[in-house]
């Protein structure tokens, strides 16, 4: 039975995540970064089904967060990704890009690799929830596109992220 299998996989992944490095989720959701695909578009008065705006309005968050130099998907991230998977199931024609990001406390090339690793962790988890991986593109921005601009723990926690962005059709 598909649902049971999926539930079992979620449970397994949840257990894997237990004991992983503590991760400080940001106190508040960061503002939408410029130029990294979270463009909410021009407001035409109604939300277009399957659009980025529709996605953001109907998932618990468009992004998940990671601990320093970590890429594990913890329980909170799983809940976020579950809400995204549900939306993607309701909008089967929609493709998304998973953007991986790192904070500024890593070197440039390594952070590209780390961001890619984080985006893939999110992609893989969505796949376990039944999202066809061929619907998901991955791109890493490394430390090039911080969402929070400060140089402190709170800002860094907001920047260690994987953001799901609807690909405009």
């Amino acid at each position: 039975m598909t649902i049971r299998k999926t539930t079992a996989m979620i449970a397994a992944i949840t257990m894997l995540a237990v004991g992983a490095c503590a991760k400080k989720a940001p106190e508040q959701l960061p503002p939408a970064p410029e130029g990294t695909g979270t463009d909410t578009g021009t407001n035409t008065g109604g939300v277009v089904p399957g659009s980025q705006e529709d996605f953001v309005a109907n998932v618990s968050s468009d992004r998940i967060f990671f601990g320093f130099d970590q890429y594990n998907v913890d329980a909170e991230d799983q809940a976020t990704l579950q809400s995204q998977a549900q939306w993607l199931a309701r909008n089967p024609a929609v493709r998304v890009t998973l953007e991986g990001h790192a904070d500024e406390r890593g070197t440039r090339d390594y952070n590209i690799a780390l961001g890619e690793r984080r985006a893939n962790a999110a992609k893989n988890y969505l796949a376990t929830l039944g999202v066809d991986p061929s619907r998901i593109d991955v791109i890493s921005y490394g430390k090039e596109r911080p969402a929070a601009l400060g140089s402190n723990e709170e800002a860094w926690a907001q920047n260690r992220r994987a953001v799901t962005v609807v690909i405009a059709r």
Partner: protein, 457 residues
């Protein structure tokens, strides 16, 4: 005695700064470093005994315009560039054309040594700028010892007028090499990333310039994020990462043609490119499903060779100058550390064992040292170690100093320095191997990812 002074100058370049802590060459077992260990500091200052060199304006037999440039004006500009090069080396205290009298054409071959001794100049540079008669320029470059009254350097360059700065750098190189015993490095170029715009959405453009910041030129327009450029050894091409069409890919840009091509076709992100010393091969990293490995491919294309296969992030990499080994970084031990391997991927060995994380290793063109970024205690610092991991020394001490690149003679390192905070910016810096001669490089915008090429062909 003059010779003794030269030896001292040479020693300044080769002896480790005593204030910088050293790691014994014996490789200890992996140990957890203290979270915030004792901090090394760099407290040195430039030597007070720098050799005084007078660099008066170069003479001209006739002040004429060549391609819109006046030979008399160029005589002063060339002397200015030479004096600035010598000053930047940290070894010399030049007296440029702004502080000493001009010379006549006759003095070029017959210096008034007493005049320069009166200015406490141990050496004097003379030269001339002359129209070649074929639309070019001839620049003469002479170095004299004022005590001995002897000629130490005599060179002439026939150049296109637009290349006048190269004549100045070549003259400065001849002087530096003769006095220090080191190989030249001024007549070289730097590729880097020019930055502008807010921190959250930086515009990053590929740009090139001379080693002193002269002849600056933007290459890309900033529409696509550009990162980590490297000049080919012949300076004809630049390999770099572009986010063109929202993908992370390595391109080779042809400097003369103004065109670019992909290094390899792949759906996966490719980044961190480097040339082999002969320019025939390119090293790059590719991320596949969260796992990054290092590959080598012909610069002409073809089938890439995968060099690493351990789970995790293997990234970056830099060839040894003989082209036989590669130094790279890997987090296979749990955090970023530096490893070496043969160019076929065999014999992978960890060489960094100090506390903290190590990244961005770059093999010196002399082969004797590997420069790196060391992360720990909330800071990034630039340091050097031997290819076997010994004699580690940190050369800088700031919030974030990253991505060292070597001068052609392996005596100076450029890197970029980032300041913290919402208005944090990056700039280009250079430091010599003593860690003392630290300078910021002039760039029209902010700068990062410097890449110093070899002596110009």
């Amino acid at each position: 005695m003059t010779l003794a002074r030269y030896l001292i100058a040479g020693l300044l370049m080769t002896v480790a700064s005593p204030v910088v802590a050293q790691t014994p060459p014996v490789q200890p077992p992996v140990v957890q470093p203290p979270a915030d260990g004792p901090r090394e500091s760099i407290t040195g200052t430039l030597s007070q005994d720098r050799t005084v060199i007078a660099v008066p304006a170069f003479a001209t037999p006739a002040a004429v315009n060549v391609a819109g440039l006046n030979t008399a004006s160029l005589g002063k500009q060339i002397a200015d560039v030479i004096a600035a090069d010598l000053e930047r080396s940290g070894l010399y205290a030049p007296l440029g054309p702004g502080s000493v009298r001009a010379i006549t054409m006759a003095e070029v071959r017959a210096p008034q040594f007493a005049d320069w001794q009166a200015r406490n100049a141990e050496n004097v540079v003379h030269g001339f700028v002359q129209a070649s008669g074929t639309g070019g320029l001839v620049v003469g470059c002479y170095l004299y010892d004022t005590d001995l009254g002897s000629e130490l350097v005599r060179q002439g360059y026939e150049i296109q007028p637009a290349d006048w700065r190269r004549a100045a750098h070549k003259c400065a190189d001849a002087i530096y090499s003769r006095l220090s015993g080191e190989s030249p490095f001024f007549d070289s170029r730097v590729a880097y990333i020019a930055e502008s715009g807010p921190k959250g959405n930086r515009i990053k453009r590929l740009a090139i310039m001379d080693s002193d910041g002269g002849n600056h030129r933007f290459i890309t327009n900033g529409q696509a994020l550009a990162l980590s450029p490297r000049f080919s050894p012949d300076y004809k091409k630049i390999v770099y990462v572009s986010y063109l069409n929202d993908r992370v890919r390595v391109f080779i840009y042809d400097v003369n043609a103004g065109t670019q091509k992909l290094v390899t076709e792949s759906k996966n992100a490719t980044f961190a490119p480097r040339w082999s010393p002969d320019g025939r091969q390119i090293l790059y990293s590719m991320a596949v499903g969260g796992n990054t490995d290092i590959y080598r491919i012909s610069a002409e294309g073809g089938t890439p060779v995968r060099l690493t296969s351990t789970p995790g992030i293997d990234v970056g990499g830099s060839f040894s100058p003989d082209g036989r080994k590669i130094v790279f970084e890997s987090d296979r031990s749990g955090g970023q550390q530096i490893y070496t391997m043969n160019i076929d991927g065999s014999n992978q060995q960890r060489i960094s064992f100090g506390g903290g994380r190590y990244a961005t290793p770059e093999w010196s063109p002399r082969g004797d040292l590997i420069a790196f970024t060391k992360m720990g205690g909330g800071e990034f610092r630039v340091g050097v170690m031997t290819p076997s991991g010994g004699s580690e020394r940190l050369l800088t001490n700031s919030w974030q100093d990253e991505a060292p690149t070597w001068s052609p003679n392996g005596r100076v390192i450029q890197f970029f320095r980032t300041t913290p905070g919402k208005a944090g910016k990056s700039s280009l810096w250079q430091v010599d191997l003593t860690g003392v001669n630290l300078r910021r490089l002039p760039t029209p915008q902010d700068g990062s990812d410097p890449s110093w090429g070899p002596i110009l062909p």
